[in-house]
């Protein structure tokens, strides 16, 4: 007897939010705020984006010291080797208005740990890393990471020894950043694909360390802020 293929579950109702998104978009197009072609180009571009190229950049850098040097010196050139062209991708051919064309790869060492934030607005290296996670965009993360990085990292489950320098990178201008973490033990002899699998998006932002066996981003624990937002500047 042939086995019946069970269809994948789907959401079988239309929510008001879905309706709102369509309505806003259609009206915007009718009023000439943007064209349907532009919207399609952007959506097609967005669909190509995800964290895999950045993960492969790191894996390649772990395997090849010359590529590592290139990645640290010229992130845009190194991106080409993982299929990402910061300059010539559609829809603009000069980098998207939000992302620009200056990727900087931040090299961790056993004594230096980087973590990335954009306090001003949540800039993120979308062309090589995809869409930013929700928590990255919140004022909660943006204001607290620069001031209490160790507490915020602890909420992500990361405890860094006190003699290791934590360097917060506040991405406030045209550069966009990914972290090149230290290659973990227990990965000797691994292929590029195997290595890339453990370089999660959170590792590339700097809030997690690559770990053999861990291939997903952990759920962000919801902690009430130990030091709540203060407008004391």
């Amino acid at each position: 007897m042939a086995e019946k293929h069970k269809p994948a579950p789907m959401v079988d109702e239309v929510s008001d939010f879905e309706i709102l998104e369509v309505a806003v978009r259609e009206l915007a197009i009718e009023k000439g705020l943007f064209s349907i072609e532009d919207h399609r180009r952007w959506t097609e571009y967005m669909h190509t984006l995800g964290p895999a190229p950045a993960a492969h950049l790191v894996a390649k850098a772990w395997l090849d010291p010359e590529y590592r040097k290139l990645a640290v010196k010229d992130g845009v050139k190194a991106s080409l080797d993982v299929g990402i062209d910061w300059i010539n991708s559609m829809p603009t051919n000069f980098g998207t208005p939000s992302d620009y064309c200056n990727l900087r790869v931040l090299e961790d060492t056993p004594k230096l740990k980087h973590v990335v934030v954009c306090t001003l607005c949540s800039c993120y290296p979308r062309p090589i890393l995809g869409q930013s996670p929700e928590w990255y965009r919140t004022p909660n993360y943006r204001r607290r990471l620069v001031r209490w990085p160790r507490q915020v990292l602890a909420e992500f489950g990361l405890q860094i020894p006190e003699d290791v320098e934590i360097r917060v990178e506040d991405s406030n201008q045209k550069s966009r950043f990914i972290v090149l973490p230290v290659r973990p033990e227990g990965t000797e002899g691994w292929s590029e694909d195997q290595l890339a699998e453990i370089v999660t998006r959170d590792c590339l932002i700097g809030v997690a360390l690559p770990t053999p066996g861990v291939t997903v981003n952990t759920e962000r624990p919801v902690h009430p802020a130990v030091n709540p937002l203060q407008h004391d500047h």
Binding site: S15, A28, F34
Partner: protein, 145 residues
Amino acid sequence: MTSKDPDTGQTLPDLDTSPIKLLEKVRREGRVWDELSEQYGVDNPDPPWRLSLESTCDALNGGYWKTSDLCASKDDRPREVDECKLDALERRSEEDVLATDLYADVPFPERQLLALAHSMIRRGLLNEEELARRMKEVDQRLNMA
């Protein structure tokens, strides 16, 4: 009433954060993706309209050759740059204010969507009545058996 951005000290644009009736209705009655995906057992962390929303935000920012002009050679005819209708940084700043004040209890990306609609209505890019009418129309269209 203006305020200062605590991070840069710059004066923030005026934003009327008073509730908009239509959006309050969506907020109250709309089912968020977190609920829907759980109910139907769908794995995808994002609703199907998520990327379309991101594209709308980028397309509103403009600032590049209009795609309809991309194929035209430089000698053919003057190419047009897509105008900025809603600057990305201003939109983000308004989204931050709205996310903290008005739409704090709404999960992301529903919050981002409400904030965008709010900004557009307050700036006169969209009209609340016509948006309500269009939503009714879209609702009928999408729910046709």
